[in-house]
């Protein structure tokens, strides 16, 4: 599944950082606005997949040196840990805590469900990238 055209390759160099930036934006905005870990994960995996399509498998391995399955593993572990942490404090599952940081002049609202979202992002990236590269390998044969 490799389309090694020069135009695509050049374009992907610009597209890749942009998709990651947009994914980060969506993930951070997710708590109070439209967005969130799932969407951000999908956007990021679109970036990964176009990269894989244009540069091939080997270059893709350099970009993402771990097997996608470990992204799923770490992501699920993170999300599960954040979700079950409140149990230790006698709170129900998935209870989120929040705090406001004062950095210089600006205020940053931090929520523990942010870490949950991050875990979700990793799971989605892992699943999507793993699935597409697995199915892509099959087509390459």
């Amino acid at each position: 599944m490799r389309m090694s055209s020069l135009i695509l390759q050049t374009a992907v160099r610009f597209i890749l950082p942009l998709t990651f930036l947009y994914a980060a934006y969506a993930a951070l905005k997710g708590h109070n606005g439209p967005g969130g870990g799932f969407i951000a994960g999908l956007i990021a995996s679109v970036g990964f997949c176009t990269y894989r399509m244009s540069y091939g498998d080997r270059a893709f391995h350099r970009l993402l040196p771990v097997h996608p399955r470990w992204l799923v593993f770490v992501g699920l572990g993170l999300a599960g840990a954040v979700a079950s942490l409140p149990l230790l404090f006698g709170q129900p599952l998935l209870r989120s805590a929040s705090t406001t940081l004062h950095l210089g002049g600006s205020e940053v609202h931090l929520v523990s469900s942010m870490a949950f979202d991050l875990g979700l992002l990793l799971v989605v990236v892992g699943v999507a990238v793993g699935m597409i590269s697995r199915l892509g390998e099959e087509l390459d044969r």
Binding site: F73, P92, L93, L94
Partner: protein
Amino acid sequence: MTNDLLGLLVVIPLATSLATVALVRRPVPQRILGLVSLCSMLVLALSWLVRIRDGEVMVSQMGAWPAPFGITLVFDSLSGLLLCAGLLVTIACYVHGFSMVEPSTERRYFHPLMQLLIVGVNQSFLTGDLFNLFVAFEIMLMASYGLLAIGRTRRQMTQAYKYLLLNLVASTVFVITAGLVYGMTGTLNIADLARFVADRSNAGVPLPTGFTGLSVMLLVVFGLKGAFFPLWFWLPDTYHTCPISIAALFSGLLTKVGVYAVLRTFPLVFAAGDARDVVLPILAVSAGATMLLGVLGAVSQHNVRRILAVHVISQVGYMVFGISMMTTVGLAGALYYMIQHMVVKSSLFLCCGVMERHAGSDDLDEIGGLLKRHRWLGVAFFVAALSLVGVPPLSGFFGKLVIIRAGWTANWWLSAIGLVTGWLTLLSMLKIWTQGFWSPESGPRMNRGGDASGRVRCLRAAHTGIGILVVAAVLIGLAAEPIYDIAFHAAEQLTDPTTYIRAVDPLAAGSVLTASGGGG
């Protein structure tokens, strides 16, 4: 009462699943971890069940969002009994799997999938939210798809499609129905739905138009998962192809989750008002047909595993029969029957696995004389089979007694079918018994198993699994009264939803409480 630790029943298997993924190349640590997780959950569930034996309800509001907004986990007598029975069955099948599942299969994520299945099953028993029930179903089904195709034989894969596609269509119908329920009633919380329905009927306001349609759609969804009469065709083939320990687990758990969903949602919500007149006859007819056709199918089979698989269907019929009465006694009987069935049916499947290993086949023509060589296997099978048939001191008897006696006044013809089904069950069990155990030792494949020392040693785990379940089956029969008491509490809470609503959503319960005068 609030008990926020309820979430542990979902978190423990999820964490174990992750841990076993990390250890995927090393079977022994995975087995130990899996067993520790299952046993700890069983201990937790049992201790909570003892605490709520007087009919209280434990609730945990996830994320601390109050009831109709967030997801509620509810541990009442109904969930508690089924959780305990389900975990017990899982432990036995899991232990049995140590000696039955091929090492190559075990390395293909057998243990993580098993724990994931338990996440789904526990969550569907615990959840108090219709949409979350869908999610739980999906988790359970994803794991079961994986487990079904785990050996990757050609036959398994072709059969997996049937199961997979049917369940996908059913899930889609479930999503659509959940959307329609929300559009019609404005809530998806089961307690809130029960309040909605009770308020309407107390005030004499008819339910929204089309509510009956929703009931029937849900009945189709749950009926397919639970293998009710017209929707049971997928079951025998599916259970025929996968490793026997997994088939035993599926027969004990998966169809029962479908029946549980009917038991949870229909008496409280979807069989109320006008829907009642439509749903109850459907359930009654389906129950009769499921019982009779299921057992006739079983009698006509000639293959131990197929006989047992088709029997699952006929036994589901008894539960539907109990539910179709919608009376306290009928529901209590259905629940008790469900619990004993989970234990007994799985133990029969586990016996079948050992029989296959000893005789090299599960075709009744090719096996025989097992009693002479493997006496304890014969005893275990005999006890479990008699319990399935319903012979007095054993558990099946009490379940059938309650259901058939309760049904005699409501639907005598169903009770009659139930009795006939009992006789035919005896016939099919005798078929396995006489040809498999009693008949003289013969057949070309007789000397296949049991001689190599490695094989005998590795069957010890399988025997342990069978032992756990057979002892449990006898105990359920001996302790019929305390278990039935809890089941009766559960049924009372289903026929009179005030306790349930009050526990889940104390604020909204006010309207119902004043209208029905505190309930009975």
